[in-house]
Symmetry: none
Subunit: 186 residues, 4 copies
């Protein structure tokens, strides 16, 4: 998966995979373990998905601490950490999402959608006054977008953001908390 993440599907040759796995390069040794190059990738994605599934429900870490700022900070840190942990998968998704949708649709679903929904529910619940689902969804989109973006820019596009994590998180928490407490959106 490291190779796939770094060089994309085509760029990751069977020969390189074999070399990286300690097999004689070019001897076709992986074919005793996987049916095809596609199958190697599928197995790699599967492994990542299994891990993601274990952490599927973001709400598990969104337990009320009584302090909204603390909760938001924790959430932000958690999401960034997760994205970092799945950097390989993310890089690969970015490079190949349009080429191999069949393999990746599920991976993307899990990486993005559940997080999004979970966060929207959290926002609706913890806002004061409580927000309707529509507004909560929109706020979740804006909020998560900021965090995703931070990693997509660096990990996918290779841009170095001029704001470090601590500052980003602090600002983000402030903005989210403001929004959830003022609670007035269109």
């Amino acid at each position: 998966m490291r190779l796939f993440g770094e060089h994309g599907y085509r760029g990751t040759t069977i020969t390189k995979i074999e070399a990286a796995a300690g097999l004689t390069p070019g001897a076709g040794g992986i074919y005793h373990h996987f049916k095809s190059k596609d199958a190697v990738l599928a197995a790699g994605i599967e492994r990542h998905l299994a891990r993601l599934a274990a952490l599927r429900d973001i709400r598990r870490i969104l337990t009320p601490l009584g302090d909204l700022h603390a909760e938001l900070t924790l959430t932000a840190r958690y999401i960034l950490a997760e994205l970092d942990h799945e950097a390989e998968l993310l890089g690969f998704l970015a490079a190949e999402a349009r080429n191999r949708p069949h393999l990746l649709a599920d991976a993307i679903e899990q990486l993005v959608k559940t997080t999004f929904t979970g966060f929207a529910v959290f926002i609706a619940d913890r806002s004061d006054p409580p927000l309707d689902a529509n507004n909560a969804e929109a706020i979740a989109a804006v909020g998560l977008g900021s965090l995703f973006s931070s990693r997509l820019l660096t990990q996918v596009l290779g841009v170095q953001t001029p704001v470090d994590d601590d500052r980003l998180i602090a600002t983000w928490v402030e903005m989210m908390a403001n929004t959830m407490q003022a609670g007035t959106t269109a």
Copy 2:
């Protein structure tokens, strides 16, 4: 560039490019116009960069209208429109950023950094009370991130976001305005 954006560098064969350009596929006709496949790509990127350069300074559209909400709405629309317009380039960047950094480093700089800096200056100036550069930068990062993310997710990862543009922009404007007027950050 459409081909490069859709299929990546390796996936875009010289033969396909020739076919798309009205030359006989496989006859090597492009080599009368470009020195190599790399040169075709470089020229394509160049063209996009030229266009971006013309729009380089986001501040040109951030002229004070007197109404912060209106200004922010305009800004958001403009940025999303720009990202849509450069979808091909964006797609290609995502797929190949790690493979061909030499060609793309500049493109990315221009696409992201200038927008970012310009927006940060706008935020610093229009906040009430005025913010220092540090805080403005962090807010710009969060704000722009949301917008970038919206396009990166759909165009690069192929995820369909459950919030449409109008709602996203409205919410985003609200949050940004709140932040810029309350002005209290860590």
Copy 3:
């Protein structure tokens, strides 16, 4: 087709074909002329079939000469000559008929069936007294079988028959004429 006839489908490597065609062996040059190895074979078979089609109707050479012996001798010579001419195709058919029925079904039809039917009609017509279609068919099967066999044994199985063509034909003509004139079959 010579190569396919001699070494079968798998035994005829693209590399050998290229070498035989004056291309650099192993450089994939045929792929500018044929889509795949299968297509090379298909084109070869097509060419043979076109030739067979031109000679499709054996009855054209079975014109009445007034002399049954002469007619039969001519027929035998003609059929053996045809089989010799299509030796490559025949060899290939024998080697691959069970592996690649899709490509070869037509070829076999033309090589065998039309000859068979045409000959049966001739027998029915020229027998004295005339024979019904059933009997004529059976005699055609026995008669053509002898001739086919002579070539199948040598060309396909590599057996050298101890009887030369002239003697074989003379005997065959005698037996056929006997049968067609005595005319009593079960």
Copy 4:
């Protein structure tokens, strides 16, 4: 031998043979029983040859019954039955005769020549008036050819003959008897 007959030499992989033999496919288990793939085939052919050797002399079934028609019918049935019984070997011979003559030359000799010689002797003896060896040989070639052909066409080329066995044999017996009793050949 079933595999070799169905898929040819190259098409029959060691892996398939192992699977069919109840060994773990791909583990190389046959190499404890045979030195090489060639040796597996050689042993298979050997076994068939042993069987053929037992039946080597067609004359054993050509014992005079006093009734020529009956004797010929029996002979025809016997030969067709033998060819059916050795269908696997026959199929393999057709597919590989030109590729692996070293392994098969003997097999073919035995399958064809002894039958041929035996039958020629029978014809010479039982004809009335007795025929010289030359004529008998030619008649044997024509006669056996019809029977061989019937099986070669169906088993090797996959052609369905429009004449069933009973009718074929009846006609064949008639023609052979006619010839052996009229006895006038060129």
